[in-house]
């Protein structure tokens, strides 16, 4: 499957699939726009994608993307700088990834292949074979019946040592109990990410329950619907990556960060977006 290195042209080939890397947001001025970022939960992702597309279309000369003709896959790689973690530094950092299954494209189906794709892309991007913490957001769906296949894929990775800790997002105490007591779940989550808003209303019950069950309650302010079809299509068409008539649906988003734990420095933070055109 040869990748065609296409020199920069005014128009891009028709894409059927898209994989986009925002690159390391810690080294951009995106964080300077905190007031904008606070306006909606997914503002950071939307702005990051827009910045990446802008660089894609504005970068003079050198190839800034790859196009795999066989699958019509347009890959917008890490345009700014390499996120590869040198081998000698791997033990100094903690790699965390959060996979967002997106609700629009799933009728309560969470294909395990997305887990495979996510793990693969992240390994490639960061140059690592292991991911220390892997969190998953099932688009607000907490029913084990629907998510067990995806969870099973995660378990396999965990048992192989590719993934360290597993975690879930926005689970209630009840949801947690369900998964902890389910006998077919071999690897239990050790993390639950929740959003406590302004800290005035700490959910005491959830906190106590987490303590009793050895679940680490991490903070997040993500929304499960981190990217909609409308948003992605608009981003792409407004930068002339696709014609205005094309709709591109995001299938999953990975949010990752690399943390140097003995210095509490965030070395890298970014997103990977995977979508397809209808």
């Amino acid at each position: 499957m040869p990748a065609q290195q296409v020199p920069h042209k005014l128009s891009l080939p028709d894409l059927q699939q898209l994989v986009l890397y925002t690159g390391n947001l810690m080294r951009t001025s995106l964080a300077s726009r905190t007031k904008e970022l606070n306006k909606q939960p997914n503002a950071e992702l939307v702005h990051a994608v827009d910045d990446t597309l802008r660089l894609l279309m504005d970068s003079p000369g050198a190839p800034s993307y790859r196009y795999y003709t066989e699958h019509g896959l347009l890959e917008v790689p890490d345009l700014r700088q390499s996120s590869r973690i040198p081998a000698e530094d791997r033990n100094d950092v903690q790699v965390t990834a959060k996979l967002f299954y997106l609700s629009e494209n799933t009728q309560h189906v969470y294909p395990p292949i997305h887990v495979d794709a996510a793990v693969n892309h992240l390994q490639k991007l960061l140059g690592v074979s292991t991911i220390d913490t892997f969190l998953v957001s099932f688009a607000g769906d907490h029913s084990l019946k629907n998510t067990c296949q995806a969870w099973s894929a995660l378990e396999t990775y965990q048992q192989q040592g590719v993934i360290g800790r597993l975690g879930v997002s926005d689970f209630s105490a009840q949801n947690i109990d369900e998964i902890l007591t389910n006998k077919s779940i071999k690897v239990k989550p050790s993390i639950n990410q929740i959003n406590v808003g302004s800290c005035c209303d700490m959910p005491k019950e959830t906190i106590e329950h987490a303590k009793r069950n050895g679940i680490e309650l991490l903070h997040n302010s993500d929304s499960a619907d981190i990217l909609s079809t409308e948003e992605l299509s608009k981003l792409l068409s407004s930068r002339a990556v696709v014609p205005k008539t094309t709709t591109v649906t995001p299938r999953w988003v990975i949010k990752y960060h690399v943390f140097v734990q003995c210095r509490s420095v965030v070395a890298d933070k970014g997103y990977i977006v995977m979508g397809d055109a209808l």
Binding site: M26, R27, T28, S29, A31, S32, R33, T34, K35, L37, N38, D92, Q94, T96, T133, I191, I194, V196, C199, M202, I207, E216, L217, L218, H219, N220, S221, H257, F259, Q261, C262, R263, S264, V265, V266, A267, K269
Partner: protein, 629 residues
Amino acid sequence: MGLLSLGTPLHWKEAKTHADHVRSHGIDQFLHIYHSQKGQKKQCLLWGDEVEYVVVDVDEKAKRTRLSLRVFEVLAELQVAEQEYLEGKTKVVPDALWRPEYGRFMIEGTPGEPYGATFQDLLTVEPSMKLRRRLALAAMKPNEKPMTLVNYPRLGCPDELVPPHEPNGKACQSMFVPDEIINPHARFPTLTANIRRRRGAKVEINVPIFHDTKTPKPFIDPTVLWDRTLFKHDKEAKEGAAKPDHIYMDAMAFGMGCCCLQITFQACNVDEARRLYDQLAPMTPVMLALTAAAPIFRGYLADVDCRWNVIAAAVDDRTREERGLEPLKNNRFVINKSRYDSIDTYLSTDPINKPKYNDLDLVYDHDIYDKLRKNDVDDLLAKHVSHLFIRDPLVIFKELLDQDDTKSSDHFENLQSTNWQTVRFKPPPPNSDIGWRVEFRSMEVQLTDFENAAFSVFIVLLTRVILSYGLNLYIPISKIDINMQTAQKRGAVLNEKFYFRKNIFNSHSDTQNEDDDDEYELMTVNEIINGKENGFTGFVPLIHHYLESTNIDVQTRCKLSSYLSLISRRASGELMTGAAYLRQFVMNHPAYKHDSVVSPEITFDLVETVDKIAKGELKVPELLGNFAA
């Protein structure tokens, strides 16, 4: 404050003959440390805070407070835990380490062990500080209190010491404070006297008085002993040292008797230490303004809110020649600052440290510079060190003159620790595992442990954010000096603006013009800390964004948010600074006569009130919102 070596300290007449010896060996010691330790890599973040207290004696019956000079008995008890640990009598690490400070009424406490790098470590700061306060209190008599006041308001007024002493000591020769106010360890009286001897005059501190409705104009201070002739230096006051409309002080104790909040942290290597030193420098005036808590000096309301200039003048050992008042004859340089003041040069080798930022005419010892360069020290670091070494060593112990420069750093530290600056670049001790460190020194101590913890945590998070985003805060260093003066003005947080860099993100910006990228402008503290719409991001929002990019747990995040909220609300003016609160307390006191005088009666109530606030017994929403002390 600096090292407490033991031995016979030399009188200035003799000490100055050894100045070159100390400097020369100090440089050799620095070179040894630099070359043996510059290859350090991947050191973890370890850090600590230093909190200073004044010990106040409270006479409930007479409704009178005084400074207690009993600190050495108190310290003896407090240091037992550390001593037993060092002697191997116990494996229990002491909860706190206690040190004497310049004033015999002051103690300094640090955590028993450095804090680590995690966010959970940040939550241990406040409990550590609270524990220290309890330990200090327990080692004192029932009527004594350790207080985190920047200064005792009536230091230097008659009958404000227990035991009482007249101001007729030979070391200070002050009109206001006796020698017994100084820590009796040989170093401190020697430092005091040698500063005076070197300078050729008493130190001269003049703080503008706050003119209230009944304050005389011009204000000629009736408490100055204009006609005393006990010492030859007494005449200086009436010969111009004591300025009209100012609060005149004439001793080191008025400066070094002030309490501050200092944070020291370890960088991962020497380059990171240099980078953080530079990037924190522009924040030193901002943090001084935010922590302002010293509006009263020698019993008078001042027109400033901070201690900084007072300490700068209190240890100013420059001669008339060095101050440019007479042509250079016996001294080598004209030096435009006291040895206690803001930094004069950036020192990072980051490409973003452009030469234009070092826009002060740096005074440095050229011979020392050349020697450092010949020994493979780069230009910026060589200038930094050779600038520190323009000063004379003030305290030299006869027995310690000859040292093994590969084992000792005493001579280096002699100069290093008597250059007191807004940030300090601290090389490791020789032959140790300790890393290159940076000390943040401009903050005033706050009335409560909640506030001291919040500001400490803020500084640490600020450094993490500087490193995580690769921030660039550079502005011409001369502008930081201007900011430092602005910061001390009455109500600076609310009323003043500070030069600050507009674009602190070091990415490829949208502008083609590099000079546009480097622009700086005047911003309020509120804008710097909280940001502005469509403009500067603000450090509190940026810290929140950084925390969002980590695996922080919910409870830790909420506690850190409360610290950030305090900083944010002080910056916006929603909450008062300590200085504004103390000033308001005096001015609203029924016994206050609107003549700027802070009487013993007012001071008694002030001390009692501040003590209750620190204990959490009194709620002060205008100072602390609904945060608990």
